[in-house]
């Protein structure tokens, strides 16, 4: 009897640990992480041994960072059941406003003050478009897709209009520190291993991105507001019936996304030290696709910050691998499209199987 009992116990233990593995493997983030590891190994074996190696990785991070600022709030917006195409327009408008403000006010005030003013003006543009988006969708009950398509064009048009065919580049010199300053540089001199691992050369945008990722994770998973985002996206009416202020969730989501896009523009202006109105292209689809690859559902209620981070990594890894492997860059979009197609098809498949959890 006792033996039998023991046997029984081990078998259930095994079953439990097996199902734990299964559950772990059913997590989108884990699946994606495995895909990224396999992809990296394949690229390294396929002719780019330095891919994501110690030299490449810090560069890779600083390339991903500006998009990362936008993908986090975009993922949260998607989880809340919304959608924002206008981010590219906002980012470009913010770039142009930076250039325009510098060209008008350079020399009229203290440099630091001017930089603060420039950043404030850029962020305000994002704030305004975000409020317009949020107001249109919540109060006027306009469709988010068409609304943000319209505000995208308006913001982009305003960018080219203000630029007036010029790309301004007479900036305050220290403005470039917003994108180029390396906060750990001095630390690298004290701790050589930081230098060896090239951590000490990481520029500011990587740290902005880290802060945004942490804040996004904290808000989404550890605050009532985060659970309200999920609730609003899962069942807007049901959430409202239970006292969730779904309009507030949506409005804040649009404002955060708009301001993040503006910050992305400011970082680009600083990196380029010039302000062309077409600095960013395809940002909206890049971040939306990244969030979806990371498990965010266009129907809302699902997704995660970690998934969005990994999804964006994947998008940039494909781009980076195309270049490093010497493949024709013209095919990059084909590969990105195929990856997105696969991700969405996989979603549909696992939903039919009821296997995602």
């Amino acid at each position: 009897m006792a033996v039998k009992q023991e046997e029984f116990d081990t078998s259930t233990d095994e079953a439990a640990s097996e199902s734990r593995w299964k559950r772990l493997l059913a997590q989108r983030e884990i699946q994606l992480l495995l895909v990224l590891v396999v992809f990296t190994i394949l690229v390294r074996l396929g002719g780019a041994p330095g891919f994501l190696g110690p030299t490449h990785f810090p560069i890779f991070l600083s390339q991903v960072a500006p998009d990362m600022l936008v993908v986090i709030p975009m993922a949260m917006l998607l989880i809340g059941g919304m959608f924002d195409l206008s981010v590219t327009g906002i980012a470009n408008l913010s770039v142009v406003l930076v250039g325009w403000t510098f060209s008008r006010l350079l020399g009229t005030m203290d440099d630091t003050l001017l930089i603060l003013l420039v950043v404030a003006i850029g962020l305000t543009a994002g704030l305004i478009v975000g409020v317009i988006n949020g107001f249109a969708v919540t109060r006027l009950r306009m469709n988010p897709l068409m609304t943000t398509l319209a505000t995208w064009w308006m913001a982009q048009g305003a960018a080219t209009g203000v630029a007036g065919g010029e790309s301004r580049h007479n900036f305050v010199g220290s403005f470039r520190d917003i994108a180029r300053f390396q906060p750990l540089r001095d630390l690298g001199e004290t701790f050589p291993f930081l230098q060896e691992m090239r951590i000490s050369t990481l520029p500011m945008p990587v740290f902005y991105a880290a802060v945004v990722i942490f804040l996004g994770w904290l808000v989404l998973n550890r605050t009532r507001f985060g659970w309200h985002i999920f609730a609003a996206g899962s069942d807007r009416q049901g959430a409202a019936l239970n006292g969730v202020n779904v309009n507030r969730v949506t409005l804040i989501g649009f404002v955060a996304t708009g301001m993040a896009a503006a910050m992305c523009g400011i970082v680009w202006a600083s990196r380029l030290t010039s302000a062309p109105p077409n600095t960013l292209g395809g940002l909206e689809l890049r971040v939306i696709a990244a969030a979806v690859i990371g498990g965010a559902a266009l129907t809302g209620g699902e997704g995660s910050v970690l998934g969005a981070v990994l999804g964006l990594f994947f998008m940039h890894m494909i781009r980076s691998a195309t270049i490093q492997l010497g493949l024709p860059v013209y095919w990059e979009f084909f590969v990105l499209g195929a990856v997105l197609f696969t991700a969405v098809a996989f979603d549909a498949w696992s939903k039919r199987q009821g296997a995602t959890d």
Binding site: A231, D235, N242
Partner: protein, 260 residues
């Protein structure tokens, strides 16, 4: 034996010397020219299950909506714990401890049981979600109701119809509902699940809730309820004590056919 004298057979809780949790008297409600409720009466005590039965269009749903604050009555009186009250909206009902569980449950399919129990009323500590406490309390609520769920971290999407209903009921009970209005709780369920749901409703009764159940299924009604209130054409034609009646009589009152 002649036609049953429904009024003479009425058995309101008051007349039996126990104080009812909720009494609704002479409730009237018209939608335009359609008189949905003429003179509806119902009452329920703590630890009692009252079935509300009637043919389609008899006014069962309307009466439930009036009691839950979704619709305002044109006339009539609602008394909760001895106090005359007005219920203008679902929040008023909630404050009075009245909760309704509708057939379409307003649950969040992509969220787990814990998130569903606490949606809109999440617990926090220093501004951060107290997930440990919510999980512990959710486990306790689920255990109390003796419902069987795989885990409180299962997403509602993966639960059966009966389990979902249990979550919906657990939610209102956890937030202090003492008067439960259940709209067709077994209609969408299979045999086994319906049985589990009835058992759950009986557990609620043991916990001294006052429960009004709308149901078409007389077998279910007779299994769990103490009294049966019959509506016909928006009027309460009678309230019967289960032990003193049978389904033939109830059907006769529902249809209004004086067959014998």
């Amino acid at each position: 034996m002649g036609a049953p004298q429904a009024e003479a057979r009425e058995a309101p809780a008051e007349s039996r010397g126990e104080k009812p949790l909720l009494v609704a008297r002479n409730i009237e409600k018209a939608y335009g020219t359609v008189q949905a409720l003429g003179s509806a009466q119902i009452d329920v005590r703590a630890g009692e299950i009252v079935a509300l039965v009637g043919d389609n269009g008899a006014g069962k749903s309307t009466l439930i909506k009036v009691l839950s604050g979704a619709h305002k009555p044109d006339a009539g009186e609602i008394i909760v714990r001895g106090q005359s009250v007005t219920i203008d909206n679902p929040n008023d009902a909630f404050d009075l401890g009245i909760a309704t569980v509708y057939q379409d449950l307003a649950l969040l399919a992509t969220r787990d049981v814990v998130a569903n129990l606490y949606v809109g009323r999440e617990l926090t500590r220093n501004g951060i979600l107290d997930r440990r406490k919510m999980t512990a309390e959710a486990n306790q609520v689920v255990r109390q109701l003796k419902t069987n769920l795989p885990s409180v971290h299962t997403r509602v999407r993966h639960l059966s119809g009966g389990q979902r209903q249990a979550v919906a009921i657990a939610r209102v009970v956890h937030f202090g509902a003492e008067i439960l209005l259940l709209d067709e709780p077994t209609a969408a369920l299979g045999v086994k699940e319906a049985h589990e749901m009835l058992t759950l409703i009986e557990h609620l009764k043991e916990q001294d809730k006052g429960i009004i159940v709308v149901s078409h299924n007389l077998a279910h009604v007779f299994r769990i309820c103490d009294r049966i209130t019959v509506l016909r054409h928006g009027r309460t034609v009678g309230t019967l004590i289960k032990e003193e009646t049978d389904s033939t009589e109830v059907v006769r009152m529902i249809t209004g056919a004086d067959l014998l």
